[in-house]
Amino acid sequence: MRALLDVYIQQFKTTLAAQVQYRAALVIWTIGHILDPVIYLVVWSTVARSSGGSVGGFDTGEFAAYFIALMLVNHATFSWLMWEYDYRIRHGDLSFALLRPIHPIHADIADNVSFKLITFTVMLPIAAGLAMVFHPTLHLVPWAAMAFVPVLILAFIVRFLVEWTLAMAAFWTTRVSAINQMYFVVVLFLSGQVAPLELFPFPIQVVAAILPFRWTIGFPVELLLGRLTPIEALTGFAVQVAWLALSLALLRIIWRAGVRLYSAVGA
């Protein structure tokens, strides 16, 4: 445990140095993560105004709160693994990671968390700025706001494990960009980024409830905004834990199979 902590701290220092050096990648991701929610916020506010002030239980202020919170949650939980893994495998960078005595996922987590620590110094002021422009209405419920912290951490871990698992598709195919884009579209709609999920037709809501994406993005947002009953919050938490177990198991199985294949190719 102590050794692992040292690894994380060291990785944090490395990432910090690297990110300050390559600010461009940082800016690009950040712009995308700000622009998308702003676009949908503007669109839905227009719809709400034209239909007498509110749509499906959201007025313009609640839409503003939803999409600004969504921007922060999405940024907190996202990873760029699926775009990087392919490169890692084809260029053999993975070989170095395999030589280390610990699982390569730890370096990735530390890398990701350090990246977020830097970008949040930009995202939080931007969220404040957007709040001044769009006037969100926030009804904070104390228990929900407290539950938000563990739910967000769990959401981050589940999304990270799911994406790490999907990224391993690169062991089997070199055309991951098509897979990545498909994943991106599914997540866009079924996690609540296009609209709050309660605005979708019922069959889509059912599909979203089965898949993990809603529980890693939409659910923490709805919880923070105080839109959930304690029962709903507990159910969501239970689904998150179930997905945590499932994704951990899948990750282990696929990782073993993938690494075996990888060494076979390299030999």
Binding site: A24, V27, I28, I31, G32, L35, D36, V38, I39, V42, V43, W44, T46, V47, S50, S51, V55, G56, V133, R175, S177, A178, Q181, M182, V185, L188, F189, V194, A195, L199, F200, P201
Partner: protein
């Protein structure tokens, strides 16, 4: 004419290069269709709650999606790959070879790389436009069609000049390709009418990153709500930016010292 002939030559080179990798066609087709599904899916959710968005009817917004795909396809087909190659050749000094050729250098660098599979986006965009027009029941008059063509040309010229100006900056700064990526990510905002956005964002999308003229304005022409004033502004801006980018390019070329110098 020379421009078209050169474009054709580079297009043929692109075809020859890519025919070795035919599976890429399927992959690109799949990705383009996914992009279309995303755009139309978003519209479907929104129009299940309203019948107009900021005054735009559903079919008009579908037309906007068509223009968005069409212009985006044209950018990715030739403008973006050519400009990226230009930036790279300035850094590596291979621009020397282009400059020694007898054709106009700006012409050459503007069409030097063609990603042929992006034609799929253009075809898809045209298809979406046709569907939207049929659904609009529009008896598209000759005047309206001409307005649309003019607005589209002006939008294309503005986007091209914008990219050329940014790429020309690479004569002084090394890492400009990152600014171009920012344009790519902001282009997505053009899928919606810019009139929806709050003032500051509308201003940015019109004058800082000229997305509005590339997508909203031509779509307005199709929907029959383009004023002569806007069209004139678009054409004037296009002309001004073409001249400005040309002048700036010549300053840049003069500054360029080559790799061997």
């Amino acid at each position: 004419m020379t421009y078209l002939r050169l474009l054709w030559v580079f297009f043929r080179i692109g075809v020859m290069g890519e025919l070795a990798y035919r599976v890429n066609f399927i992959v690109q087709l799949f990705q383009s269709l996914l992009g279309l599904v995303t755009a139309l899916g978003g519209l479907a959710v929104i129009f299940s709650y309203t019948d107009r968005l900021g005054g735009w009817r559903p079919a008009e917004l579908v037309a906007l999606v068509g223009v968005y795909l069409l212009v985006g396809g044209a950018i990715n087909l030739v403008i973006q790959p050519s400009m990226e190659r230009l930036i790279e050749s300035v850094r590596e000094g291979t621009l020397d070879f282009t400059l020694t050729k007898p054709e106009d250098a700006q012409l050459l660098v503007s069409v030097q790389q063609v990603q042929i599979w992006k034609l799929i986006d253009i075809v898809l965009g045209l298809g979406v436009l046709v569907v939207a027009l049929v659904r609009l029941g529009a008896d598209l008059g000759a005047l309206q069609a001409a307005e649309f063509a003019l607005a589209l040309l002006a939008g294309g010229a503005i986007v091209y000049s914008f990219w050329l100006i940014l790429a020309t900056c690479s004569f002084w700064f090394v890492r400009v390709e990152n600014i171009l990526v920012i344009f790519q990510s902001m282009y997505e905002a053009g899928r919606w009418p810019v009139s929806l956005y709050p003032g500051w964002l509308r201003f940015a999308l019109t004058f800082i990153v000229p997305v509005a003229f590339a997508t909203t304005v031509p779509a307005q022409a199709l929907a029959g709500r383009l004023t002569w004033q806007t069209l004139l502004e678009a054409v004037a801006l296009a002309a001004a930016m073409l001249v400005a980018s040309r002048l700036f390019w010549r300053v840049g070329i003069r500054y360029y010292s080559g790799a061997s110098a």
